[in-house]
Structures are given as C-alpha cells and as structure tokens.
C-alpha cells in the first residue's frame, strides 16, 4: 500500500475534473473556487490519512518505491505544504478553468510525492517530469502575456534541465550498470569514480540545480514567480523545493556519499562537495545581491528563493547526516515562510492591484493580521529569532561546521561565513518591505483605510504558516527530531 | 557614626528642600538657616568628646572597593574639629547674609547645604578616596552657585573657577594614583608612615623604572602634582587667576563660602596631607614653595591696593592672608630643626585659617549689607560718610577690618604672630620680605574704611538706617568669635596642639 496517498490524489483529481466538467456544462458557469479548494483539500487530507496505511511487504527490490522514514515523513510534509498552497485562492479573473487547475495541482503533488519516495534514478526522472509538466501548465494558466512568458521560460529551462538529468543518468547507468542508488554506492565503494560517473553526476546535479533554482541556473525563477498565479508559485517554492532537497539528499548521501571529497578551506579533496559548495556560494551571492535591487515583491521572493537554495546547499556540501537533517528541516521552514509571504502578497495584490513593494505601504493600519504575519514570514526568512527560519539556518550552519571542522581544520567555515554574512545582508531587503508595511503610511489615493477581510481558506494559508513558524522557532525539536530519525532510518549510520 | 550623621545631615536638609515645593525664597532660606544649626550642635557635641590618641570621633571604616585598601575612612581630631566648626559658622553666616540680602530659593539653599556636606567630608576624611570624592563634590555646587546667581561676568568666572580647580585636582589625582600603583595604598596615615620610613621614593622608583628617574625625582614630581591641586584651591600665585573674578561675581554670601571655606580646603590639605606625606622631598622644594608664598603675599596685597571694587579688594586680601599660611607651611618644610618654631608656625597656620574664615565672613557680611542697601553698588568710591548714619555698622565693620589686619587683642593677630614667630626662626628672609605685605594690608584695609565710612556723606545714602536687630545679632556673634580667640588663644590651641605634635613627629622623628 505504499502508493496509497498518490492513488488517493489521482482519484481526487479525476473526480474533481469530472465534477467540474459536469457542473460547467450544466450551468454554463465556471466551477466555484471554494468547491474546488474544498474537494482538493479533502483529497489531500485523505492522502495524508493514507500515509498511515501499513506498507506492504514487497518481495525483492524496494528501491523503486521506498517506504523508508524519509519518504513517509516528507510525503506528509509535502502534502501539508501543498494543502496550504491550494488554500491560496487565485484571483477570480485569473483562472477560468478552475477544475482543471486544481486537478493539475493534485497531479503535480502526486509527482512530487513519488519523487520523494524513490531510490531509483529512472523512476525519479519519471516522477519529477510528472510534477514538472504539471507545474509548467500551472504557471501558464492566466491568459496574460506575463503568465505565458513565465510558462514558456519555465518549460524551456525545465526541458533543458530534464535533458541534462536524463543524459547524466544514462552515464551513471553506464558506470554502475544499475539505476539504483544503493547499488551505485556499492559500485563506488570498489574504487575511485570514473570520469563517466563524475560527468554523469555533474549533469544530474545541473539538472536538479535548474529545478531548485540554484544560481547560475535560476533564470526562470523571477519570471515564473512574477507571472504565475500565487498558488502555483507557492507550490513551486515550497513543495517542489522540499522534494528537490529530499532527492538531493538521497542521490548524494545514499548514492555518492563516498565520492564527496571535501570542500574544506585549505583541505580540498576532489568530489561533488566542491561543486555544491561553489554552487551554494554563487547562489548565496547572486540571490541576495540581486534581491537588493528588486521593486516587485514576487521577484524579491524569487531571488530570496535562489539565496535560500544556496543556504540549503551549504548544509548538503558538508556531506553529513546531521547536516542533511538540518537542511531538510530548513527546507520545510523556508517553504512555510515563502508560502505565507506569497499568501500575503496575493492578498495585497488583490487589494492594491499589483505586487510592488510600495503597495505594502501602511499595511499595519489596513490589516494588522496580514502585517504581523508578514513580519513573521520575512523575519523568519531573514533568520531572526525566535522564528523557525533562524533556527533552521543556525542548525544548518552549525551541523555543516561540525561535520567538517575539527582541531585546526576550519572546514566549511568559509562557506558558512559567507552564508551568515549574506544572510545578514538579506535583512536589508526584507526590512525594506517591512518598512513599507510598518513605517510608511499608505499613499493618499489609497482605496480604503482597511483591507477587505480575507476568505477563510486564504486566511488559513496565512495564519497556519505563521503559527507554525513561531512554534517551530520556539520548539524546533517538534520537527527536527522526527527528521533526524527519518534521516537515520533512510541513510543508515 | 556621628561623622556620617554630620555628613548626611545637610544632604537630608537639601533633600527636604527639594521636596518642599511650596517654599519661596525667604521660607527656604529660613529653613536652611534653621537646619544648619543642627550640624553646629552636632559639631559642638563632638567637641565635648574625650580625645583618644587625639581623635575625638571616628567613623567605622566602609570598604569602597574591596581588596584594594580603598576604604571610606573618616575621623575627627582637634584640627579637623576646628575646621568643622568653621564650616558650620560660615554656613550660618552665609545663610544669614542671604536672608538679609533677599537671596534664597530652594535650589540655592539646597546647593549650599550640599556644599556644606562635602566640606564636612573634606575636613574629616583620612583616606584619599573619600577626601577626593568630597573635594570634587564641592565643585558642582560652587560652580552652579556662582554661575546661576552671580553677576554679569559670572559665566566666565564660574567656568574659569571650574576648569582651573578641576585641572589642579586632576594632577593631584594622578599623583595619588602613582602612589597607589607603587606602594599600594592611598590612606593618608599609612602614606605618612611609609614616608617617615622613607619607603615612598623606593616604591616609586621600582614601579616607574621605565622612566629612568630616581626615586626622589619621581617623588618630587608627585609632590608637585599634589601641591598644584592644593595650590589652585588656596590659591597660591600664579594659580590664582580664577579667584578675583569668581569672588567678585559670586553673590556675596557665596563669596563668603568661597573665601571662608573653600580656600581653607587648600590650607587644610597642605597641612594635613601634603606636609606629612612628602617630608622627604620638602627640603628641596622649600625654596620654591617659600618663594611662591612670598609672591602670593606681596602680589595679593599690591593687587588689593589697586582695586576699586570692594569685593575684589577683599578677594585679594584673602589671597594675601592665606599666603602667610602657605609661607608658614613652606617654612616648616625647610629645616628639621627647632620644634618650637615649627610648632609655632603650624599652629599659627591653623589659627590664621580659622580666624580668617570668621573675619572674612564678617567682612563679606558687611559688604553684602552695603550691596543690598545700595542696590548693587560695591565700588570703593561709591560710598562715603556712612559713619554718621550707621555708627554701629561702622563700628563692627571696623573691628572686623582691624582684626583682619592683625591688631593685637583680636583674633587675626594671634595667627600671624605665631606664624611670624616660627618663620623668623626658620626662614628669616621670607618673613622679612613678607612684612611689607603686612604693611600694605594695613594700607588698603584702612583706606577702605576711610572711603566707606568717612568723608562727606553722599546724598543718596542720606536715608540709611543703622543695622537692624537681626543684623546686630549676627554681628555680635561675629564679634564674639573675633574677640574671644584674640584674648584667649589657648581655647583654640588646646585643640591644635596635640595634632601639631603628631605632625611634627612625622616630619622630624625624635631620634
């Protein structure tokens, strides 16, 4: 019953499609958004419940559909993030085909779930493509030039990355004569990796870097964040990034753990950690510096996504189990914060018509609820305690150091230092948004003195992440302990 | 505990004034006047205590900073007691004069009380730390008193007073810090003991070895630094630049405090601190100090001669009078010879300081009366012929002036007599030269009397009445304080002698 949640999602999607078609052909009116959200929500909740189905004992190969701790935990977490994303309603005029839209959301989630639970390269590719294809479509739903541009760019970059990944996987298969990560690990243990394996891994990494929006492979991100519906962006930034991290952790720590080398300052050893470290450093620098110049909230969040990918890669570059655990913790926390920020942005857009940072002016007066939530999200992203984002970064940096430094070796201190300092810089652009919200007064011609009340779903998609971020910031063990357990379960000691 | 009570009493009064929002000028001043009787009673009570090793009262030592031999130690011996008594009396006169001249106010009276408290501390402290704390605590109240209630030139005068005094005490602080760093204590009696064992120079030489100077050279520098701090307060020429303006610009009751008490802090310090701690280097410094003292005497007298402002005349006269004290102290540093002469010189110093305080208070009281009745004029030539209108005032003022110029039978005489007695034996040339000063003093003081009280009566003073009952009462008290010690100096010497002998033991230990 390993695939029960996925099955539930697919069935729900089909039901939703059918109902929407029936409704629309009968009433000639668009399917109501709230019904669509309701059905999708029920489906996701059922899928979460289905996680508790006891896994079937399979004979033989279990790498195709792993049911290890990581898979179970992250399927649940990704479903949760997906649920929150779905709760952000699109603007009324944005999406005419509500039924199709939400069905595709569910398909994308299905793909993500599958990708989170496999140790097999080929199956991984298929799952990721299922998710990606749905996301390309989801990005282009509004019939606007921006959305089309976003969708096209996303598709083109995504396609290239898929090609890279597939090409790399074929190299890896050529090297190890298997697509199973555990067996690749065994093959690597025999001797030093061949050039074939290195090239293969490099290409797979490039492919994943595209998907994770790591610089310099991030060019699609700002346009997609700006053009796509907020719901899509929330799914891309939160759920899909979380799955990307799980995939990376599986690939690198299960498959290529022994080929990691070292990215320590002064003690470099060839291996993938150096590439990751470079990728990480470039992402941190690019993301943060470019975010400084943004005037659009969504583009700002896109560059912040790039920067945050960089922080995540710092922990991965340590090639350690604890570091991986804290990175997985952070990716969830990051997802919550970005998702919440997008939800607030969507609300502000609905109220003020655009997502420029200056349209946040006076938010604290118009809607204290949104303003306080925004404060939580952005300060969590900036890494200010007592919010979870702070703890996540702190845990990543300290575990990355602990895994690499000892005695006189400074380990990844250079990268951690860069991350910490650029994270400080990031406060500047987050604060410039908060400044609008808290310090500035809204322009004279503002429509109303108080913002309209948010729909319940929307309000929940703002409130739940905010509460969770505070809670996880104060008691990080709630999430960190299960993740550590899951990581041990999946990666072994 | 009595000492702490004594120090806290005026502060408590100041606090009460601060809290009493309904007090106007007269009321606050009356209250302060009444309140300052309390410390006087306290001091009088202490005066009746038995002396144990010359100490009449001692406060339990309070640690200031642990493990550093920095304690708040206070005790009262004969000399301290006299200075305490002086403090109480002058404060009393000052309030009386304020009341007479219509000054007062909560802040004004409160600040004077704070000043009084700090002075109590200065005259009782036996360790550098409490002494210096109180020494500096006098600065702010006196600055504010001059600055806020003074005349037109007060801003500059007050600032100059503040900066010069502060600068001087900075040197003093550095000097004592050097001692603390090298011998590990700033306790006056311990330092004096070390000094009589000739341990200071060695300690300094060891600690400041990097400077490459000998111990006695270093000790000389330290001594000069300490002297500088004290000399500014006295003041000794050439550190007197702040004095004329400050005395003249301050309101007259405050001038009374400045000359009657603040300048005595310097004399007290020279006698009680400077002399016992630096006997090793004093012989070599003596010519310099004596020179400065003689210069102070002569320049003070000559400057007074050239003034036309009554307050400035009295200001320079103070410089001149305290110059004798410095001369006596310097002289007693010169040689380790005649105990009798030394004792005379030092006893004379104390008596001169005390008596000058009382006499100056009486004189300034008189100036204050002139000033307030004439609406602020205090020029030497503004008045004339007042004797006809105010015979009583003329009489008492005259007595005070004669006491000031040292007429036998009045209190001014005994101090000067004893000092000259001692100094002639120790440094005859200095005594001889400063006799000129005595002469000049007589000239300018008598001229003052003549200009004010004799000659033709100016028309605008035609309606002046003589002293009022209250004023007569205050002057009567002052006259008593001038006449009694003059006739019965033993009353004061009884208090000073044991302490002087102690100091002499430290200066020239009996072999």
């Amino acid at each position: 019953m390993q695939l029960m949640p996925e099955a539930v999602l697919v069935v729900t999607a089909l039901v939703l499609l059918g109902m929407a078609v029936a409704y629309e052909s009968k009433t000639l009116k668009p399917f109501p958004v709230n019904s669509a959200i309701g059905i999708a929500t029920v489906g996701i909740l059922l899928a979460i419940a289905a996680l508790w189905c006891p896994p079937l004992k399979l004979n033989g190969d279990s790498s195709l559909i792993a049911s290890d701790g990581l898979a179970r935990l992250f399927k649940g977490l990704v479903l949760g993030l997906g649920l929150l994303a779905i709760c952000i309603p699109p603007a009324r005029r944005e999406i005419p085909q509500i039924g199709e839209y939400y069905a595709l959301m569910l398909f994308a989630l299905t793909g993500l779930l599958l990708a989170a639970g496999t140790n097999h390269l080929l199956f991984l590719f298929v799952a990721l493509e299922l998710a990606s294809l749905s996301l390309y479509l989801l990005a282009g739903f509004p019939r606007t030039a921006k959305a089309s541009e976003a969708s096209l760019k996303y598709f083109l970059f995504g396609g290239v990355s898929a090609a890279f990944m597939l090409f790399g996987m074929s190299f890896l298969y050529g090297f190890a004569h298997t697509a199973k990560l555990t067996e690749i690990a065994t093959a690597l243990a025999v001797g030093p990796p061949s050039a074939l394996a290195i090239a293969g891994l490099l290409m797979v990494l490039v492919g994943l870097a595209f998907k994770m929006a790591a610089a310099p492979f991030h060019y699609w991100a700002p346009d997609v964040y700006q053009g796509a519906p907020a719901t899509t962006v929330a799914l891309v930034s939160a759920a899909s990034k979380a799955v990307g991290m799980v995939v990376l952790v599986r690939l690198l720590l299960i498959g290529f753990h022994s080929a990691g080398g070292s990215a320590s300052w002064g003690g470099m050893l060839p291996g993938w950690t150096i590439w990751l470290a470079i990728l990480s450093a470039v992402s941190i620098l690019f993301g943060n510096l470019l975010a400084l110049a943004q005037t659009s909230m969504r583009r700002l969040l896109a560059y912040s996504a790039v920067a945050n990918t960089g922080y995540l890669l710092v922990a991965l570059a340590a090639n350690g189990r604890d570091a991986a655990g804290s990175a997985l913790f952070y990716v969830i926390v990051y997802g919550l914060a970005t998702l919440g920020a997008l939800a607030v942005t969507a609300a502000v857009e609905r109220d003020r018509g655009n997502d420029s940072i200056s349209s946040f002016a006076g938010l604290v007066k118009r809607s204290p609820f949104q303003a306080v939530s925004l404060l939580v999200f952005l300060t969590s992203l900036a890494g200010i305690p007592p919010l979870a984002g702070f703890f996540g970064k702190f845990a990543m940096f300290s575990t990355a150091m602990a895994a690499t430094a000892s005695g006189e070796k400074s380990g990844l201190a250079w990268l951690v230092g860069l991350g910490a300092i650029m994270s400080a810089v990031s406060l500047y652009y987050y604060l410039s948004v908060l400044k609008q919200a808290y310090v500035k007064d809204a322009a004279e011609d503002s429509v109303s003195s108080s913002a309209p009340c948010l729909p319940v779903f929307h309000a929940l998609s703002v409130a739940i992440p905010a509460v969770l971020l505070v809670l996880l910031g104060l008691f990080p063990s709630i999430l960190l302990a299960p993740i550590s357990k899951a990581v041990i379960d999946s990666l072994g000691l | 505990m009595l000492i702490l009570l004594l120090i806290i009493l005026p502060l408590f009064g100041a606090a009460m004034l601060a809290a009493w929002s309904g007090a106007d000028r007269t009321r606050s001043c009356r209250f302060a006047l009444g309140w300052s009787v309390l410390p006087l009673a306290c001091v009088a009570f202490i005066g009746t205590q038995d002396k144990i090793n010359g100490v009449m009262a001692e406060a339990p030592p309070l640690t200031w900073i642990p493990d550093a031999k920095m304690d708040l130690r206070f005790s009262i011996d004969g000399i301290s007691w006299l200075f305490l008594l002086l403090t109480c009396l002058v404060t009393l006169f000052s309030f009386a004069s304020s009341l007479a001249s219509g000054r007062g106010g909560r802040a004004y009276c409160g600040l004077i009380l704070v000043l009084q408290s700090a002075l109590f501390g200065v005259f009782t402290a036996r360790h550098f730390i409490p002494w210096f704390l109180c020494w500096e605590m006098t600065l702010i109240p006196s600055y504010l008193l001059i600055r806020l209630w003074g005349g037109h030139g007060a801003p500059r005068a007050a600032l100059r007073f503040f900066i010069m005094t502060l600068g001087g005490s900075a040197f003093m602080l550095v000097g004592f810090l050097a001692l603390q760093l090298s011998v590990g204590t700033m306790d006056f009696s311990e330092l004096a003991k070390l000094a009589s064992d000739h341990a200071l120079a060695g300690g300094l030489a060891k600690t400041f070895a990097a400077t490459g100077m000998t111990g006695s050279a270093l000790l000389t520098i330290v001594a000069l630094a300490v002297f500088l701090g004290l000399a500014v307060k006295v003041p000794v020429v050439p550190f007197h630049a702040w004095l004329p303006a400050a005395y003249a610009e301050a309101p007259t009751p405050v001038t009374m405090l400045l000359t009657g008490l603040l300048s005595k802090m310097g004399v007290y310090g020279l006698l009680r601190i400077f002399l016992p701690i630096f006997p090793e280097v004093l012989p070599s410094l003596a010519p310099l100090l004596t020179g400065l003292a003689v210069a102070t005497i002569l320049l003070g007298a000559m400057a007074a001669l050239a003034q036309t402002d009554l307050k400035r005349i009295l200001a320079y006269s103070s410089v001149n009078h305290l110059g004798y004290c410095v001369m006596a102290i310097a002289a007693s540093a010169a040689v380790h010879a005649d105990r009798g002469a030394l004792s005379a010189a030092l006893s004379g110093t104390v008596l001169q300081a005390i008596n000058h305080g009382v006499i100056a208070s009486a004189l300034f009281f008189g100036i204050g009366i002139l000033e307030s009745r004439s609406g602020g004029s205090r020029g030497l030539n503004d008045f004339g012929g007042l004797r006809a209108k105010t015979p009583v005032f003329c009489g008492v003022f005259g007595i005070a002036v004669f006491a000031s110029l040292g007429l036998p039978g009045l209190s001014g005489f005994i101090g000067e007599f004893l000092m000259f007695n001692g100094v002639f034996a120790l440094t005859p040339w200095a005594a001889a030269v400063s006799l000129i000063g005595l002469l000049l003093t007589a000239v300018f003081l008598l001229r003052m009397i003549r200009k004010i009280f004799h000659g033709p009566l100016k028309p605008n003073f035609a309606k002046w009445a003589d002293l009022s009952g209250t004023e007569r009462g205050w002057f009567a008290l002052a006259m008593a304080l001038i006449v009694i010690p003059g006739l019965w100096p033993q009353a004061l010497l009884h208090f000073t002698n044991p302490v002087i002998l102690n100091i002499l033991d430290l200066l020239s230990p009996i072999p």
């Binding site: 804290s326 702070f390 845990a395 000892s406 005695g407 604060l431 | 493990d67 500096e136 500059r156």
Partner: protein, 493 residues
C-alpha cells in the same frame, strides 16, 4: 524568586500591551511601567540575595531544548549578570518614564520597548551560546521599529544603518559560535562546556577576532562605531536610552563573557590591537564630540568614547580591568540614559531643536532650571568627576591598564581631558549661554513633569550611589569574575 522572572515580566508585559484593546493606549504605558518596575525589583532582590549569601551556589536553570544539536535552555545568574540585570531594569523604568507622552501608536511602542528589555535580560542571563545569540538577535528588529517609526532626524537611514551593523555583527558572532561548537566536538552549545574545551591556537587566532569583532561592533568599537551616533540621534528618547544604555552593553558583555573565555589564546594575540583601537576610540569619540553641533550627536559620540573604556578594561584583562569594564558598563548605562533623557526628551520636546546654537536663544537655565541642574550633574558624571559612577569605573580601568600597558595611560588621560572639554562645551552652550542684556527674554517653558523628574532622580541617585559607595556593585562583579568562565583570562600573564 528566580531572576528568570525578569525575562518573563518583560515579555509578558509586551504581550499584554499588544492584547490590550486599541482604545486603552494610555493604559499601555502603565503596563509598561509596572512590567519594568517588576523586572527591576526582581533584579534588585536577586542582587541583595546574592550579596547576603555570597557563598550560595549560583542560581542555575538548565532545561533541554534541542537535544539533537546539544542546545539547552540554560540560564544562570552570577553577580555580574545580576548587576547588569539591575542596570537594565533601572534604565527600563527611566525609559518608560521618559516616554510617558508618546501618543503615536503607544501600544506598539511599548510592546517593542519591552521586547528589547526582555531580550537584554535574556542575554545577561544566558549560559548557552545559542540562547544568548537568540536573545541577542531578538533585540534587533524592535530597535529598527522603534527608530524607524518613532524616531526623528533622518530616522529611516539611521534605523537601517544601525540594524545592518547589528545584524552584520551578529553574523560574525554566529560564525564564531558555530566554529567553537564544531571545534569543541559538536556536542553542546553550553558556554561552560565551550569555555572548557581546548581549541587549537591557529584556530583561536582567526576565530577570536571574528567573534570578538561581532560583539565589539555592538559595543561601538572604533572604527565600527559609526552606527552608534547616527542611530542614537535618530532614535526616540527611550530608544536612545536603551540603545546607548543597555544594548551597547550587550556587545561588551558578549565580548567579555563569550569571546574572551572561549578563545583566551586568540585574545592574547589580539590584545594589543584591541587596546589600541579602544584608545583610539576614546580619543576619537571625544574629539568628534567636541565638534558636534547637535546636542544628541555630542552624547552619541561621547558614548563611543566611554565605550572605549570598557574595551580597554577588557584588553587589560586583569581583575581591575574586567571589574572596571563591568563598572563602566553599568555607569555608562546610567549616565547615557540620563543624558539622552534630558537632551532628547526634556529639552527637545520643549524647544524642538537640539542645535547647540539654536538652543542658546532659549536661555534654558532660566526657563528650565531643573533641566539645567540635572544636565550639569549628568555632565559631571559623564566627565568622570569623583562621586559619580564614571570615576570609579574609569579609575579601575586605568589601574588595570597600568599593569599591562602603562604607556597607554597617557593617551587615556588625554582622552579624559578632552571628555571634560566637550562635556563642558555642550553643557554651557546648551544650557548656560552667555546672553547680552539686550537680547529678548526667552519665552517661558512648561516646567519638568513628574515622570521626567522621577526618571532623572532615579538615574542620578543610582549614579551617585555607585560613585560614592561602589562596594556592593564591586562585590557582585567580583562574584561574577570568580565564575569558571573567567579563570582562563584572569590567569593570563
């Protein structure tokens, strides 16, 4: 009564203020005052208990927090912490009193204010590097908000500059802590544990300056001080008082209780540099203050100068030096609070200028004699006149310095003289101008209000109490210095 109540009262007060209905704005300041007084009382009682039972074990609260990373919720209060708690409480009370008339969004104002207080209490009580860092960072956002919303003169620039310096500095601290954690084996963030671990000298050589600099920036070390005057001038009065009074002390406290105990050998290598920078800071701050035209800038630069004494005491690193540094923390906390309170609240609220030339027209000593007398006393305290707290502190530092770098006492003496000069200059220009009798008499001003008088009296009395009878404070500080943290430093040659 445990000292932890200080933290609780502050945060509970902040929460309560926020939860109050919007109409009860006036009530919020009462809540803030009560919370501040409660905190100060708790601290005072704890101080007294410690004084009466010097041999009792130090109060200690150690709860597991994030066991995966070895993070504990560890609070402990030795005498040093307790005195600083008391300082914080006193400045907090004065700050609330000086903000009695805040009418613009008072609830938010006092909520942020109390948040800072709570964070500061937390830092002074923390014995876990992570917890300390959390509390340290909690302060940052409220600082920004207080300045940006309620500030004056160039407030947004000042707020952003101050915040960026703070967060940048805390990035350095983060790196330093994480390096220590990793090098000590990655087991625990407990400060006692970290201080007892041995670190390779080469690591200490580069890790110490990072950690120390992080703290020293907040302590206003030259040349990283420029945030201080700008920020303090821009801040509203209560915030200036808090910033200069206690928040700068966080930096000094961290340098003393974290950076130096962790890397004593690294400290030895950099000691001379620290001492040199401190002396430059003393003189530079004083000289710059001498040329300022704005009364608050004078005070701001004087803070730089005074904080130099703390760093100097730390560089001396012997009993006298550390004791002097701690005394100076307390003393400057009180005096800076007093100066900023008078200049920013009492004078500015009535004259609406802080320009030294413009103030002359107001003839303040006649129109506002209470303020003039108070400022004179504050100036005397700031000059380090005996009888005020500054004297004890500075003399202790100088004695401590003498035993290490005797020649440095000469420039320090020069610095003290310049301090006297600029203090007098500012006082005379602002309060005691020389006016011609032909000048028009200045208009009357409302007399000091009761809260103002209470705050001034409170601070003055404390400064005098320390200056005249420092023994209890010194005993408490010495008690703190006996903590095992400092043994490695105090045993240095």
């Amino acid at each position: 009564m445990t000292p932890a109540w200080t933290i609780l009262t502050a945060f509970a007060g902040a929460l309560l203020v926020l939860l109050l209905p919007a109409r009860s704005a006036a009530f919020s300041r009462v809540v803030a005052l009560v919370a501040s007084i409660a905190g100060a009382l708790v601290a005072a009682v704890a101080c007294l208990e410690r004084l009466n039972h010097p041999d009792a074990p130090v109060w200690d609260l150690n709860l597991p927090w994030v066991p995966d990373l070895g993070i504990n919720f560890h609070l402990a209060a030795n005498g040093l912490s307790l005195t600083l708690l008391l300082l914080t409480g006193i400045v907090a009370i004065a700050g609330v009193l000086f903000s009695w008339n805040v009418s613009h969004r008072p609830r938010a104002f006092f909520a942020w204010f109390l948040t800072i207080i709570g964070g500061v209490y937390g830092v002074f009580l923390s014995r876990d590097a992570f917890l300390l860092f959390v509390c340290y960072e909690v302060v940052i956002l409220p600082k920004y908000m207080l300045i940006a919303i309620w500030g004056s003169t160039n407030k947004e620039y000042g707020a952003m500059k101050l915040t960026m310096y703070s967060i940048g500095a805390s990035a350095l601290i983060l790196i330093g802590i994480v390096v220590a954690y990793a090098a000590a084996g990655g087991k625990s963030f407990d400060l006692d544990y970290l201080a007892h671990a041995t670190y390779a000298p080469s690591l200490q050589f580069w890790a110490f300056p990072i950690l120390f600099l992080g703290f020293a920036v907040l302590a206003g070390m030259w040349p990283f001080h420029t945030w201080a005057p700008t920020g303090h001038v821009a801040a509203p009065t209560a915030a200036s008082m808090l910033l200069a009074g206690v928040v700068m002390k966080l930096g000094a406290y961290g340098a003393m209780c974290v950076a130096m105990p962790l890397f004593p050998q690294g400290f030895m290598e950099w000691r001379m540099v620290i001492a040199g920078l401190a002396v430059v800071g003393i003189i530079y701050g004083a000289l710059t203050a001498l040329t300022q035209k704005d009364l608050k800038f004078v005070i701001g630069y004087s803070s730089v100068s005074h904080m130099g004494f703390i760093l100097l005491g730390l560089a001396a690193a012997n009993q006298w030096g550390l004791r002097g540094a701690a005394l100076q923390m307390i003393s400057h906390g009180i005096i800076a609070g007093l100066l900023f309170g008078i200049a920013g609240r009492v004078v500015y609220e009535r004259t609406h200028t802080r320009d030294l030339t413009a103030l002359q027209a107001f003839d303040l000593w006649k129109t506002l004699p209470g303020a003039a007398v108070a400022f004179t006393l504050a100036t005397a305290a700031s000059m380090g006149l005996p009888g005020f707290s500054g004297f004890v502190a500075e003399i202790s530092v100088v004695i401590g310095l003498w035993n290490v770098y005797p020649w440095l006492t000469i420039p320090v003496a020069i610095g003290i003289i310049i301090t006297g000069a600029f203090s007098l200059r500012a006082m005379i220009r602002a309060f005691f101008p020389e006016r011609k009798s032909t000048d028009a008499p200045a208009e009357k001003m409302p007399p000091l209000t009761r809260p103002e008088i209470s705050a001034i009296a409170l601070l003055l009395v404390v400064s005098l109490a320390i200056g005249i009878y420092p023994k209890p404070w010194v005993v408490l500080i010495d008690d703190g210095l006996r903590s095992p943290l400092f043994q490695s430093i105090l045993s240095l040659p």
